[in-house]
Symmetry: C2
Subunit: 217 residues, 2 copies
DNA sequence: GCATTTCGATACAAATATGTATTGAGTTGG
DNA sequence: CCAACTCAATACATATTTGTATCGAAATGC
């Protein structure tokens, strides 16, 4: 259909994306300082020329990767919440678990976000950027929780920000445990436990036999 | 009192400790790969000669630092639990908060432990070492909790391992938040909230006015 | 279709980090 | 008090890594 000769050379944007792909792997596997240009490029079959032609510095690349990762996470969460909220009659328990399931749960994701966090703590310039982006994620969670709680008011609305942070913290913590000792801790166990705690409307739920309904995560 | 001439040269062990001090700072501030021999030595006024004379490699130094940090944490926690358990009549709430308060809560500590964690995830050789050491910390927490629960049985004993991990995860998560946006989140807020959740023996506690008794952390 | 521009690969130069070797001060044992 | 030894500082050689400059292929516009 194209009257022009078929492209044999990828566009600038495509190469950029490929570099970002390589950077994702390399930063996850070896960390910010540990990842080298060579390492990043090898993974996607490009030369350092493409690297230096696409990004002015390592920091710029790191920022770009962070933004891409967060953008994808954001749309993923928004989609999941919209989907879950659209189906009526969902209980808070089910929704929370569905929501949590939509959060990335793989090795590279964890390693990367940990690396991002450390970088942010060490570089004030990125700290605010990071906090702002993470604020959006928290807002999505809070919004979803707020919608849930219109039907299921077992949690005080004032605690929402706190709960959202709690969910994030526990998710990351349990992801670390799961990666460190695979099989030792079930992937969603901690979060399930936390949700049970929060949604317990009486003491009996806390002590109930939690094995009766094993999660299939 | 010493018949020998006063030492003018520090012992090997002392130098080793100083290198570890420098390494603690450097690894916390710049990460494993980011920290250089020069960087580590400068902080404690030693030369790279002392460094290379004390440690065969960077990994060896990192391991040694990890062990020292964990050892100190372990004795700190053991002391805290022993102390808290010795005074009779302590409620679970008070004890948990005292225990949590004994856990390190400073920037370097967080950055270091995060770095250790990442290193462990990336190097299988350290993973088991790390998991074993962290298991001891968890055991201390579980033991303390078990002692508490003899008097205050609002939590099922079978959930102890899960709860211990939850406490650790939330602690680390809130420490990160606190460092990223100082003042935005009170240092112990998330943990207090979690403890409230766990010890709520009826739904009213969850929804109670938590500002009535602000924690002085 | 040709000139111009863009992009990515290769080659080069500079900076930085690590480990080894050497040296001199300080310590220990006879 | 002297000889042997230990330790940390300095100097050196090697290896990586990064950034720049150059070159050729490919796309675009006239």
């Amino acid at each position: 259909m194209s009257r022009r000769p078929a492209r044999t050379r990828p566009t600038r944007a495509q190469t950029r994306e490929r570099i970002l792909d390589g950077a994702l792997e390399a930063f996850a596997e070896r960390g910010f300082h540990g990842a080298t240009q060579e390492d990043i490029c090898e993974r996607v079959g490009l030369s350092r020329g493409a690297y230096n032609s696409s990004f002015r510095s390592k920091d710029e690349l790191f920022f770009a990767l962070y933004d891409r990762v967060i953008e994808r996470l954001q749309s993923r969460l928004e989609e999941a919440t919209a989907c879950a909220l659209s189906m009526p009659g969902s209980t808070a328990d089910n929704f929370l678990k569905a929501f949590i399931a939509s959060y990335p749960f793989d090795r590279d994701w964890y390693l990367l976000q940990a690396e991002f966090g450390l970088y942010a703590l060490r570089h004030p310039a990125m700290a605010s950027h990071y906090a702002e982006r993470q604020g959006r994620i928290l807002a999505i969670i809070e919004g979803a929780l707020a919608d849930i709680l219109r039907e299921d008011a077992r949690i005080a609305a004032r605690d929402l920000p706190c709960i959202a942070r709690l969910i994030l913290a526990v998710h990351e913590g349990s992801m670390f445990q799961g990666l460190l000792e695979p099989g030792k801790v079930a992937s969603g166990e901690l979060l399930d436990f936390l949700v049970d705690l929060m949604l317990a409307d009486a003491g009996d739920v806390i002590r109930r036999d939690r094995d009766g309904s094993p999660s299939q995560t």
